[in-house]
């Protein structure tokens, strides 16, 4: 079955520092990887969508300068939160679409970011 791993599961960083999180698809090749953030008391907000053979598309309120994403191959993506502040805390999920079943997004368990 389709599995999506995220690393780390939890991380704490000091205000103003940066942290990198990873998303790995296992057992299938991803046609796209979407990164979401769930802030306290909020739903999942789409940060950016990375699709094979296309430029990474960032949503309003999210920028490449703040959330640079690397998508070097069909099964792996990483995103960095640069200069993290309190408002960046939350659960970061990656959603991956499979070449063979692109109707569904399979989610990883998320990386929970705490900013001190």
């Amino acid at each position: 079955g389709a599995l999506v791993y995220q690393y780390p599961r939890r991380t704490i960083c000091k205000s103003g520092t940066s942290m990198r999180m990873e998303c790995q698809a296992v057992g299938f090749q991803a046609t796209s990887v979407a990164w979401y953030r769930q802030s306290p008391q909020k739903t999942f907000e789409l940060i950016a969508l990375s699709t094979v053979n296309s430029a990474i598309k960032y949503e309003q309120n999210f920028t490449q300068e703040k959330f640079p994403i690397s998508h070097p191959n069909l099964s792996f993506s990483s995103m960095t939160v640069l200069n993290a502040y309190l408002e960046d805390r939350g659960l970061y999920l990656c959603g991956v679409r499979d070449w063979g079943n692109y109707a569904e997004q399979f989610f990883g368990p998320g990386t929970r970011l705490t900013v001190l």
Partner: protein, 114 residues
């Protein structure tokens, strides 16, 4: 922009009784698909139901939902709630080509009591 509105907060239900979670949407997509995701504690959200066909009932694990484009709704229902149904439920909108990211509702926590 696109938005999804669902029953907010906590829904409590007695085991064996029916449960219904509302979900409505606004979208600029010409074609759409809809999902209900369920998230258990400390686990990833997983698809419970999905549909892209207007007025067609879709069922899975005792849950059912029908996409009604005329009323912009995709309500989730179950006739007899089970203890194991206690979880977070999210309604999510996709473009019909599955080329974009998802737009999620705020989520509803369902607690089933004996």
């Amino acid at each position: 922009g696109d938005s999804v509105t669902q029953t907010e907060g906590l829904v409590t239900v007695t085991e064996g009784l029916p449960v219904k979670l509302n979900c409505t949407y606004q979208t600029t997509y010409l074609t759409i698909a809809f999902f209900w995701y369920v998230q258990y504690l400390n686990e990833a959200p997983q698809v419970l139901l999905k549909s892209s066909t207007d007025n067609k009932r879709t069922e899975h694990q005792g849950f059912h939902a029908t996409l009604h484009k005329s009323s912009s709704s995709f309500h989730l229902q179950k006739s007899s709630a089970q203890l194991s149904d206690s979880a977070l439920y999210y309604c999510a909108l996709s473009d019909g080509d599955y080329a974009q990211g998802l737009t999620f509702g705020l989520g509803t926590r369902v607690s089933v009591f004996p």
